[in-house]
């Protein structure tokens, strides 16, 4: 079995666990939905100012539930002791990173896409060709988010304060992703001319490449059992 096969085997294991219980999936999705609703009640949905801020609201609804998912990703592994089994297998630690990352990314993508559908319905954004750009933005930003998140999730997984520690570590690092995603989707959703969209996509791609590589390189130091 090649490296890619191993990565997929690991990711498939995680995804199958998620698929079996489905509880975590619906909880995360419901949390996203709740955030959208809370913002809808907090700001007047009919006012144009809320509409201008809507892309920001969408990304808050994507990021906060994302942190919860990343926290769970390693927590169950530690609790069940399955991580030790994975670590004992004669496998490059970097491949383990890619396996966990892939599972997180796919999970987040599914939740994010469903949230996007709910968002566009609730905030009355018409389905158009521009929506395809939204898909690209979600694809790229959730990639960077899960890369750093998988690394930090592994770090905090056996700490008592992990629930609060993970966002504290993650949010400052992903500020470029948030900036790029929110500003990019503002252009896409509010039908402005695409003046800066490609710059934002470039930022996202740069972040993704750099942090996938960096997380892959340092991952072995955060999972060593000591």
């Amino acid at each position: 079995m090649g490296g890619l096969g191993l990565i997929w085997t690991l990711a498939e294991k995680d995804l199958r666990i998620e698929l079996r219980s489905r509880q975590a999936f619906f909880t995360t999705l419901f949390f996203s939905f709740l955030i959208l609703m809370v913002f809808n009640f907090a700001f007047d949905p009919a006012s144009p100012a809320t509409r201008k801020a809507a892309p920001g609201i969408l990304w808050v609804a994507l990021i906060f539930p994302g942190v919860i998912q990343l926290n769970r990703s390693f927590q169950s592994e530690r609790e069940e002791g399955t991580l030790l089994g994975v670590l004992l297998s004669p496998m490059d630690r970097g491949l383990i990173f890619f396996g966990k990352f892939l599972a997180n990314w796919i999970f987040l993508l599914v939740v994010d896409l469903l949230t996007l559908v709910i968002f566009m319905t609730v905030y009355n954004f018409p389905l158009s060709s521009a929506t395809l750009w939204m898909l690209l933005l979600i694809l790229l930003s959730s990639l960077g988010f899960s890369a750093v998140g998988t690394l930090f999730g592994a770090m905090v997984s056996n700490l008592r304060t992990r629930e609060v520690l993970l966002p504290i570590l993650l949010f400052p690092i992903v500020i470029p992703v948030i900036l790029a995603a929110v500003n990019g989707s503002t252009e896409v959703l509010l039908g402005e001319k695409f003046r800066f969209l490609f710059q934002w996509i470039k930022i996202l791609v740069a972040f993704d490449v750099i942090f996938l590589a960096a997380s892959y390189l340092v991952f072995e130091y955060v999972v060593e059992e000591s």
Binding site: V148, L151, M155, L159, T161, L165, I168, L169, F171, P172, I173, I175, P176, L179, A180, N183, R195, F196, Q199, W200, I203, A206, F207, I210, F211, A214, S215, V218, Y221, V222, E224, S226
Partner: protein, 240 residues
């Protein structure tokens, strides 16, 4: 693990303490010179007036905060490569001093922005906002540090964060610059014309902060190593 490196770590303590002592006097003298240069030697800026004199210490601490985080980055790599505790202690000492300097930079920047741009927080300036993100990242480093149990794992995690945080800086910088370019920016600090004497004052102040940084770094590293050594000896004595 510790006792193997005991002698070399004792040497490191002695070296760092000696350097801290050696650097304190130059830091003091340069600091006094920098005060003189900022308040008396440098001419008053024509547009902003005397408030502009904040600039010298503001930039002095900003540049050295950045230097401090570069040291964190390099020491973190050295720690992961060698596993030697002194590198970890150097990294965390540098983070600490860097956060103090960044705090100085942010607060003085904010005070300077109020009379010049009529706002306490100049979001229009990408440098100030990038510094804010730096501050957030390294404060989270210190929070992580305080919440991990003592041991190799703690040092490794912190080293990872020290590396990941630093390589993020260029991306943060680019994204914030582009973010602000679509919003109207009234004035940026780059429009300032620096006379020769102002440049001199700036550099004296940068060197003063550099000397202060070096002295504090050596002092904190030596103290941290001593603390570890004490802890090791306590464990050893209690076990007997």
């Amino acid at each position: 693990m510790w006792s193997k490196n005991l002698d070399s770590d004792r040497q490191a303590i002695r070296r760092y303490t000696a350097w801290a002592g050696r650097l304190l006097a130059p830091a003091y003298v340069l600091g006094a010179l920098a005060l003189y240069a900022a308040f008396l030697y440098a001419p008053t800026e024509r547009v902003m007036g005397d408030v502009q004199r904040i600039f010298y210490f503001h930039v002095g601490s900003a540049w050295n905060a950045f230097l401090a985080f570069l040291v964190v980055f390099l020491a973190s790599i050295a720690y992961l490569k060698t596993g030697r505790i002194k590198w970890d202690q150097l990294a965390v000492a540098s983070t600490e001093v860097g956060v103090v300097f960044t705090t100085i930079t942010l607060v003085t920047g904010s005070i300077w922005a109020k009379p010049i741009w009529f706002t306490w927080w100049p979001w229009g300036d990408p440098r100030v906002t990038t510094t804010l993100v730096l501050w957030l990242m390294y404060v989270s480093y210190l929070i992580l540090r305080s919440s991990l149990p003592e041991g190799d794992q703690k040092y490794k995690f912190c080293a990872v964060l020290g590396i990941v945080g630093f390589i993020n800086v260029p991306i943060v910088w680019m994204s914030i610059r582009w973010w602000r370019t679509h919003h109207p920016v009234v004035i940026t600090s780059s429009g300032m014309n620096l006379e020769a004497r102002m440049v001199h004052a700036l550099f004296i102040s940068v060197f003063a902060f550099a000397a202060l940084y070096a002295a504090l770094l050596c002092l904190r590293t030596s103290m941290r190593l001593q603390e570890r050594l004490t802890q090791e000896m306590e464990v050893e004595v209690m076990a007997k």
